[in-house]
């Protein structure tokens, strides 16, 4: 069962093609990562998915069908460019926006009290939004996104302006929402958070999907291009190794195209070295991102 299904969508603004061809599906109850360099079309993809923009091509199904006014109440969205009433007191602002999502004001106020406490904002609820720090405003924005208990949460860059403690707070909250059955689609540049939180990812580059699937599978797919080696003595020259990098107490050997880890192992054994460690290096998401985006290695 999918919370969102996007199939071959395209969207342009004038002569600029923001999204050329993107397809993906988000399963109910998962945390899905939407990645891509700046200007790759992530935000436009999210806006098309949420029916803010109509696509020129392709289809979108959200919560089991086309977008409707009723479904808006079941979705929480935090846009890339934050939006709260700057001149309104925090509590009034969040309660008002929750009522627009169909939550009675009294109920919204009750939910809000708990979230304000949890995010250390209770003492600031009477302050105008513009009087809050950037980090506080970010937390307020996150609360606004989930206050009405949505089934589908779509968050663009959730960790911007947050310190490590608040980052952890938000990560815990996202896991908690997932455990309660909510689906989360998260667009971010912070690969470490994606690695920790996401079950599956989609990488968009230049308006096209270039990488899509389970994180583990993708990493396996991109492993084998490097090995971690620790020897008793000095590392000899090995054919097929392009570069040697220090890596903790070992060496990371970057393999040339066509060279496999088995080739390197055989070459080392042939030179009678005492091998203390030999491990196929699993690439980080950062490395995969760079390889896919900069080197076009999809």
């Amino acid at each position: 069962m999918y919370s969102a299904q996007v199939s071959h969508i395209a969207k342009s603004f004038g002569k600029t093609q923001a999204v050329a061809d993107v397809s993906f599906a988000v399963e109910r109850g998962e945390i899905f990562g939407l990645l891509g360099p700046n200007g790759s079309g992530k935000t436009t993809t999210l806006r098309v998915m949420l029916d803010v923009f109509k696509p020129e091509r392709g289809t979108v199904s959200i919560l089991g069908g086309p977008m409707s006014e009723e479904k808006k109440e079941r979705i929480g969205y935090m846009p890339e460019e934050r939006g709260l009433y700057q001149d309104m007191p925090l509590e009034r602002c969040l309660v008002y926006l929750a009522t627009l999502k169909g939550v009675p004001a009294g109920e919204a106020r009750g939910h809000l009290a708990g979230y304000l406490e949890r995010f250390d904002l209770a003492a600031h609820k009477g302050k105008k939004v513009k009087e809050l720090s950037k980090g506080m405003q970010q937390k307020a924005q996150i609360i606004n996104t989930i206050l009405h208990r949505p089934e589908l949460v779509v968050i663009d860059e959730p960790f911007t302006a947050l310190d490590p403690i608040n980052t952890q707070l938000v990560k815990d909250l996202m896991k908690e929402l997932r455990d309660q059955g909510a689906t989360i689609i998260m667009s971010t540049h912070q690969m470490r958070q994606v690695e920790e939180l996401c079950d599956r990812i989609l990488l968009i580059d230049d308006g096209r999907d270039v990488l899509y699937g389970h994180l583990g599978e993708i990493r396996r797919q991109y492993s084998g291009h490097a090995v971690l080696v620790r020897l008793a003595g000095e590392l000899p020259t090995v054919a097929g190794v392009e570069q040697v990098l220090p890596h903790n107490n070992a060496a990371k050997l970057m393999l040339a195209e066509g060279t496999t880890p088995q080739d390197v192992l055989r070459a080392l054994m042939a030179q009678d070295v005492i091998l203390e460690k030999f491990e196929i290096a699993v690439p980080t998401l950062d490395e995969i991102f760079i390889r896919v985006v900069e080197e076009g290695d999809a």
């Binding site: 803010v52 006014e69 808006k72 846009p79 460019e81 627009l100």
Partner: protein
């Protein structure tokens, strides 16, 4: 419907809590009342002293004046000047002494060569030109009667040479309450009431201010929401139609409150301070004018506020709103300027045409209705055309209220605005 109401309530409450709104809506009228009360106190009167009596025989509120007739022209005081109101003095010294002891409030000197020059000198310790103007009618009347050899009837005909009878084809006269006011007698208040004379112009200015300020609130509101990006959150919560109608009605009620505060203040001042404004007895703003005022304000606001909302959807930031407001408000601004020039010919072709054309009728029709004598079919037709225009504009602007415009950072252009209104964006 419920969400539209939530937007409406939010916009209304947010607006009326704003200090700038409170200042304009209530601060300015309050200031006017305070200034009026201050002037009244300084002048030694009381704010509820009432209007000046239209009957010159009622001397209870008239102040005694004197005159020095150097040419021996005045032989008779007209019978409708209250006895003892105009006191003759043999020379200026005696008149000056009477003035100093407070026996009289002012005196006139009629020079020997009055018949050749028409010169009349008034000596008064009160520097206000309005107070002098207010009561010199009695002296003028006395002079006229005496120049005509004491024939009061002839003098009356010269003063008021025609009894103009106007046949109004409208089913009901617009200003029956003061159109029949007896202004034929000199010294009667309405002869010199600037307020009544300029009431059509005042109404023109007031309606221009009400409609433009009310509509501008909407432009600023929408462009502010675009700038702080709340609009994207709103679009994921409610429909653009609900946003638009909620805002128009909410801010319209705020505008109506402002108008009520201003009109209420004007009403209170007129009731309290008729004397200060030199209004005739029985003067009142006719209820029909108030009803038409409400109709034309609401319809004019609906058209211009909706246009402003459309412009707001296209404006990328708050900074550009001032220029954009001018583009949208140009028709009503032009009608306001033209109205100031054609106020003397309120039923001419230009004034009639502008009062029927929907983008100019909210101010021009009110000006004409204040003057009076407008056939009933004209305000009815103007209102019907305004309703039609409001519906068309609302439909066109609702079409502009979509994400492509609301989230765009594209700069505003007149061409793009009118293109969008015609459904080309």
């Amino acid at each position: 419907m419920k969400k539209m109401y939530l937007v409406l309530r939010h916009e209304l409450m947010t607006t009326i809590r704003r200090p700038s709104f409170l200042l304009v809506a209530f601060g300015i009228p309050l200031l006017a009342v305070l200034i009026f009360a201050g002037v009244t106190i300084v002048r030694g009167g009381s704010p509820d002293s009432g209007v000046i009596p239209s009957d010159p025989a009622d001397a209870s509120e008239l102040e005694v004046q004197g005159y020095v007739d150097q040419g021996g022209l005045i032989s008779v005081i007209p019978h409708d000047i209250p006895p003892g109101y105009l006191i003759a003095f043999p020379d200026e010294d005696h008149a000056q002494q009477a003035l100093e002891v407070g026996e009289i409030v002012a005196y006139y000197v009629v020079p020997e060569d009055y018949l050749q020059t028409g010169d009349l000198i008034i000596v008064s310790p009160d520097p206000s030109p309005f107070s002098a103007h207010r009561q010199d009618g009695a002296m003028r009347w006395t002079l006229l009667v005496n120049v005509l050899g004491g024939d009061a009837e002839l003098a009356d005909r010269v003063w008021n040479p025609v009894n103009l009878e106007v046949t109004n084809l409208a089913p009901q006269p617009q200003h029956d309450s003061y159109a029949d006011e007896d202004c034929s007698k000199p010294g009667v208040a309405c002869e010199s009431s600037l307020l009544i004379r300029y009431l059509p112009m005042i109404m023109l200015v007031l309606f221009y201010v009400f409609i433009t300020t009310g509509s501008s609130l909407l432009l600023r509101n929408i462009s502010a929401e675009k700038e702080n990006r709340v609009i994207e959150i709103l679009m994921l919560s409610i429909s653009p139609w609900q946003i638009l109608t909620g805002k128009i009605i909410g801010l319209g009620i705020a505008g109506l409150l402002q108008m009520a505060a201003w009109v209420g203040t004007v009403y209170v001042l007129l009731r309290m301070g008729g004397g200060t404004f030199n209004l005739p007895a029985g003067f009142e703003i006719p209820p029909s004018l108030l009803v038409w005022g409400l109709v034309f304000f609401l319809l004019g606001y609906a058209v211009y506020a909706t246009l402003m909302a459309g412009a707001g959807a296209l404006v990328p930031n708050l900074k550009e709103t001032t220029q954009v407001a001018w583009v949208v408000m140009m028709p009503i601004f032009v009608s306001y300027l033209v109205g100031l020039f054609i106020i003397e010919d309120p039923h001419g072709r230009l004034a009639t045409g502008l009062s029927l054309f929907p983008l100019t009728s909210p101010t021009m029709m009110i000006m004409r209705l204040t003057v009076g004598g407008v056939p009933l079919w004209q305000p009815l037709l103007a209102a019907a055309l305004l309703v039609l225009t409001a519906i068309l504009v609302l439909r066109a602007v609702a079409g502009m209220f979509h994400a492509q415009n609301l989230l765009s950072g594209q700069s505003f252009s007149v061409r793009r605005f009118y293109g969008a209104l015609l459904g080309r964006a």
